[in-house]
Amino acid sequence: MRGRLPSASTPFESLSRRGPGSDMIVYTDPGTVDHHDIQFVLNEADAEALTVDLAKPTPVRAFLTETDFTSASIVIEQRTIEDCYERRLLAVDATEDRFRSWYCQQLRPPTARCAADTKVVVATLIRVQHVYEEPPSSRASSERRGCPAEGGEDQT
């Protein structure tokens, strides 16, 4: 089932960053990526070709350069979200011909400075312990309202 969490996730680490507005913030060619695309970064050359459109791009750059592409791949998902909500990655399922991810979203802490009725974009970089030779043909991502205990956006 697409919406149901798998009993075990493929091991992963992730890093999320928010950007203003709804434009993508991590891309190779901004014209070829839309909100529903899942990008696959499979080697150092792919990683170096990425543009990181953030005021502080260093953590994203570091996350990419610290990846050993002989044992892992990077998957990037970018979607908009209400400013006062946060998205958390719960699990991924990476196999040779497919990639699935499961997210939840929840209200940010009351002290988080944010505006109601405003959308921002969140880029989630996933370092998944699976080596893809090429992007899998089957990709899907689902998201539910409300997160299990242990809140907060993944900040690996």
Partner: protein, 451 residues
């Protein structure tokens, strides 16, 4: 009694009338998806819906009403006049607090009132207190979050939950139907008892489902506090009104046996009606001696009118077979059965004879205005405090709900068209529900009289 005729008897009567129309329904029904210009909506909604207040069976004393308003104001006073971003940085949380504060204020906005208006205003204090408490608790929770002390607030709410549960349970168990056994005084008593029982049942159910997770947000905590406040407020309001009625009632005979007999009698009558079983694929078709296209307006309007009959019948059966019998559920379902079955029969007759298969500005407006006219006639016929009056207020309110779905369409000033199918079906059914309500109320009262 008409409503006890079997389906076959009614169908046989209608067959002669419908035979001449049988050949043309299919083609006409295909035109049913015609659309209506959004610009026609203001015209369709031009006729105002009458305001029909539900019963005010007993007027509360001034003191408890004043206390409830004071409690609301005290809670609201815990909030600053304007909530700054520095106080509550999260915009959604700030918006929630402002919304609930505004709603609480609206409930107590009017100056202290007397007479029947005081009854409605007093009942409204339940929501006023809940909204005020939700706003105040969310605001407090933000401060506690900063101090890393949310767990203490949760603990305090859990203790309150433990304390309020038996209070509400006692109030619910103390609802004892006692009063005069006939005439308007009986109807008044039943209006009070059924409303009180439903309100306290609702409070008890919400408390039973109440929970606080360890990771509850400040919004969750606000909602949890509002549920507790609402339950306590419902207990305060209904305990007072029931006590006050006990001092005021002209007689104090136990009404339970009479109510149970009336509920059982209504159940026997509806069970004697030969409605098709809904497990049959063609059960809607079986309702009428005429071929009806499943995608047609005629099919849908039949479905929309008969579905509440089945639901009322099932609710009645459930109440009648529960021990002890839940009188509010049983009596309410009995009145709904009388109303819905009559309304269904009229809709079926119109489907067979003349209901327009076309949805356009004229037909939608005509059904809505006929519903409003029926509401006015019913309002004149059902005046004193009674369950029928409450049902009337509820049915009239449904016109405004259907209107609301049209108003939303024109809110943004967008041009275009809409099918208006749902609204048309609703107006057709509401028209008949309101037309038959006086007769349904008389039948319901006969069941009570015969008990």
């Amino acid at each position: 009694m008409t409503h006890t005729h079997s389906r076959r008897t009614v169908l046989a009567t209608g067959a002669a009338l419908t035979g001449m129309l049988a050949g043309c329904t299919q083609d006409q029904d295909k035109r049913a998806d015609s659309t209506v210009e959004l610009s026609a909506i203001p015209n369709i909604l031009a006729e105002p819906v009458p305001e029909v207040q539900p019963s005010a069976p007993i007027i509360p004393a001034e003191e408890p009403y004043r206390d409830a308003r004071t409690r609301t104001t005290t809670l609201l006073n815990e909030l600053p006049v304007s909530i700054a971003q520095s106080d509550v940085p999260n915009g959604v949380v700030r918006e929630h607090i402002d919304d609930h504060r505004s709603r609480a204020r609206e409930h107590i906005d009017t100056a202290s009132v007397g007479g029947e208006r005081r009854y409605h205003a007093f009942v409204d204090t339940v929501d006023a207190r809940a909204d005020a408490r939700q706003a105040a608790t969310m605001y407090e929770a933000v401060e506690r979050y900063r101090q890393n002390a949310l767990a203490e607030l949760s603990e305090s709410l859990r203790s309150e939950h433990t304390a309020v549960e038996p209070t509400v349970r006692d109030a619910r168990q103390s609802v004892s139907y006692m009063g005069p056994t006939d005439g308007p005084e009986l109807y008044r008593a039943l209006a009070l008892y059924t409303t009180a029982e439903h309100a306290l049942d609702n409070a008890e159910r919400r408390l039973a489902n109440w929970e606080l997770r360890p990771d509850s947000t400040v919004v969750d905590l606000g909602e949890a506090a509002a549920t507790l406040e609402s339950a306590q407020a419902a207990t305060d309001v209904w305990s007072h009104l029931l006590r006050r009625y006990a001092d005021d009632r002209p007689a104090a005979t136990a009404l339970q046996p009479l109510c149970e007999t009336a509920i059982s009698a209504t159940r026997q009558r509806i069970d004697a009606i030969d409605l098709p079983t809904r497990e049959d694929d063609d059960w809607v078709q079986q309702l009428i001696d005429q071929d009806i296209d499943e995608n047609s307006i005629r099919w849908e309007v039949l479905y929309e009118s008969v579905d509440p009959v089945y639901r009322a019948r099932d609710d009645l059966a459930e109440a009648a077979t529960t021990t002890p019998m839940p009188l509010a559920d049983g009596l309410t379902a009995a009145l709904r059965v009388e109303q819905e079955y009559r309304a269904f029969k009229r809709v079926r007759q119109r489907v067979a004879e003349e209901l327009s298969p076309e949805i356009n500005e004229t037909t939608v407006q005509a059904e809505r205005e006929a519903a409003i006219e029926a509401a006015q006639t019913a309002t004149d016929a059902i005046s004193g405090p009674s369950m029928a009056r409450d049902r009337l207020a509820e049915t009239v309110r449904s016109i405004t709900y259907a209107d609301g779905s049209l108003e939303i369409l024109i809110e943004d000033g967008v041009d275009g068209v809409t099918s208006m199918r749902g609204e048309y079906l609703e107006y057709v059914c509401l028209r008949e529900r309101l037309t038959v309500l006086p007769a349904a109320a008389r039948a319901f009262r006969e069941r009570l009289q015969e008990a």
